[in-house]
C-alpha cells in the first residue's frame, strides 16, 4: 500500500515534469536537432545497409531524447528552489527520481516513434519481433533516463554545467556502442568500453528485431538481462549519489 502510494506520487511528479520540461531548450536542441544532424553527417556519402541505418536512427533518437531532460530537472529545481519543496513532502527521494526517470523515458518513447516509423517506411524495414522491440524500447528509454538522472547528481544549480557533463558522456557512447561502427571493428579498448554502455545492448536488440533471420536465443536473452541489470544499477547509483549531494544543494 505504501509502495502504491509512493508510486502514485512518482507518476504525479512525472506528469509535472512533462508539463514543465517538454518544451525546454535542451529537449529540442540535444534531443532532436543534434542527433538529426549527427545522423545526417554519418549517413551522407557512406554506404550503410538499411538495417544498420534503421538501427542507428532509432538508437540515436531514443538515446538523445531520453537523456535530454533527465539531467536538467534536478539542477533546474535546485535553481528555482522547488527541489526543497519536493524533498519536504512525504515522498521518498528515490520515488522523486523515479518520477524524473518516467518523465524522461516518456519523452524518449514519444519522440522516437517518428524516427521508428520513418525507418520502417523509408528504409523498407520490417519489425519481426514487435513485442520484444516494444519491451526493448521501454527498457532502453528507462535505462537511458536513469543515466541522465545519475549525471544530474552533480551538485550544481546550473543546468548548463550538467548539460556539459552530459554531452561528455552521451556523444562518445554513440561511437562505441555499435550504432555507426560495428563493435568488432572497434580497437581493443573500444570493445571493452562498449560492454559498459547500455546503448550496446539496446542496439543489438533493435537490430535483431529488424532482422528476420535469427530467432530469440541466448544472445538476445543475455542482452535483455544486461539492459535490465544496467537500468537497476544506474537507478540505484542515482539514488545514492543524489542523497549524498542533497545537503550541498540546499
Amino acid at each position: 500500500m505504501k509502495i502504491f502510494s509512493q508510486l502514485k506520487k512518482s507518476l504525479a511528479i512525472a506528469k509535472k515534469n512533462l508539463r514543465i520540461y517538454y518544451m525546454k531548450g535542451p529537449v529540442l536542441i540535444f534531443g532532436l536537432l543534434l542527433p538529426f544532424f549527427f545522423f545526417l553527417s554519418f549517413w551522407l556519402g557512406r554506404e550503410m545497409s538499411p538495417l544498420m541505418l534503421g538501427t542507428a536512427l532509432v538508437g540515436m533518437a531514443i538515446w538523445f531524447t531520453s537523456t535530454s531532460i533527465s539531467p536538467v530537472i534536478t539542477p533546474w529545481e535546485t535553481m528555482t528552489k522547488t527541489l526543497e519543496r519536493l524533498i519536504s513532502s512525504p515522498v521518498g527521494h528515490g520515488w522523486i527520481l523515479l518520477g524524473d526517470i518516467l518523465a524522461s523515458a516518456t519523452i524518449g518513447l514519444i519522440m522516437t516513434a517518428v524516427p521508428l516509423v520513418l525507418a520502417l517506411i523509408l528504409l523498407d524495414l520490417a519489425v519481426f519481433h514487435p513485442l520484444v522491440l516494444t519491451l526493448v524500447l521501454i527498457l532502453g528509454s528507462l535505462c537511458f533516463s536513469a543515466v541522465g538522472v545519475l549525471i544530474s547528481a552533480l551538485p550544481t544549480d546550473s543546468p548548463s554545467d550538467v548539460m556539459m557533463l552530459s554531452s561528455l558522456v552521451k556523444f562518445p557512447l554513440v561511437f562505441i556502442s555499435g550504432i555507426f561502427i560495428p563493435i568488432n571493428e572497434l580497437p581493443g579498448w573500444g570493445q571493452i568500453v562498449s560492454y559498459f554502455s547500455p546503448l550496446t545492448y539496446f542496439t543489438n536488440l533493435v537490430r535483431w528485431s529488424f532482422d528476420g533471420n535469427v530467432g530469440f536465443g541466448t544472445s538476445q536473452l543475455l542482452n535483455l538481462v544486461i539492459l535490465t541489470a544496467l537500468l537497476i544499477l544506474f537507478s540505484c547509483l542515482a539514488v545514492f549519489a543524489h542523497k549524498k549531494a542533497l545537503p550541498k544543494r540546499l
Binding site: K2, S5, Q6, K8, K9, A12, I13, K16, R19, I20, T80, K81, T82, E84, R85, L86, I87, S88, S89, P90, V91, G92, L246, P247, L250
Partner: protein, 308 residues
Amino acid sequence: MNSLVRTKELYKDFDDVSAVDGVGFEVEKGEVFGFLGPNGAGKTTTVRMITGVLEPDSGEIWVNGKNVLQNPVEAKKEVGIAPEVSNVYGEMTGWQNLMFMGQLYDVPEDEREARGKDLLELFGLHDRRDDEVKGYSKGMKKRLVLAMALIHDPPLLFLDEPTSGLDVQSRRLIKERIRDMKRQGKTIFLTTHDIPVANELCDRVALINHGKIAVIDTPESLKGAMEETQSVEVRFEENPDFSDLEGLENVEKVEKDQNKFRIYTDTPVETQRSLLNFADEEDHRVTAIKTLGPSLEDAFVEFTGSDE
C-alpha cells in the same frame, strides 16, 4: 502529550562548522511559536531538520508524536510548509500547483478539489487560478504558497518570513489568516526577522544564536526581563542640539530618528519632567512626548548579542 514538535539535543555541522549546537525545545499544540535569530544563527538548518529535509548529525525529533528520523514520510504528512522563497512552479497555473501538492500529500481527488477551491477563495486567488504562476505578483505567490501548505489540512504549519517584502494589503491578509489558523487550533511555527510581527502574533518566541537557543519565553516576559531598557520618545517643533539632551540628568543614551528623539533612562517619569523643563528654558516647543517600555527588538539584541 501536548507538544506538537519536540526536539532533543540536535546537532548539525557543515564542514567542521557547527550550524546547530544542541538545540532542544517543545512547541505546544495550538500555539504560535516564533523562531527568531540573526542571519546564520541556525534557524533554517533547525527547521530543515524538523521538516525532514536534512538529517541531523545526532539528536531526536518528533512531530505530532511521529519520529522524523525513523518515519520521515509519515512525519512529513503532519506538516505544511510555506518557505520564504515562493518556490512554486512558474510554468504551471495556481490551480495545477495546488493540485500537485495535494497529490504529493495523498489528498483524495474530490477532497483536494473542494479544498483547493476554498483555499483559492480564502487567499483571494480564485480569479487567477488558471493563470501561470510566473505572471503572479510577489504577494500572490506568497498567498499561493500558504494555500499549498494548507491543502492537506495539516495540524502544524511552518511559515518562513510570511510577510516579508509584501504590500500592506497582502501583509494584513496573511496576518489575519495566521490568526484564523490559530483560532482553528493549528500550531504555527513562525520563522521571522520581523520582530513586530513576532510580537503581534506569537504566544512564545525562541531566540537562537550561534546554533544555540538563547532563550524561550513569551514576548511579554522577554520584554519584562529588559526592564532597565526604558525610554522616553520626544518630538520638538525645532530640534535642539543633540548634546543638550545627552547632558540631561539620568539620561543614558540618546538616539535620533528623523525628527524625534529616543532617550534611554532608568527613570522615565523624571526624565520626562526634565525634558519639559529643558524645553521651557530653551524655548523649544514639544509637540509629542511618551514613555516607551522595552521592545521585543531590545530583547532580541540583548539575548542574541546582535543589533540586526
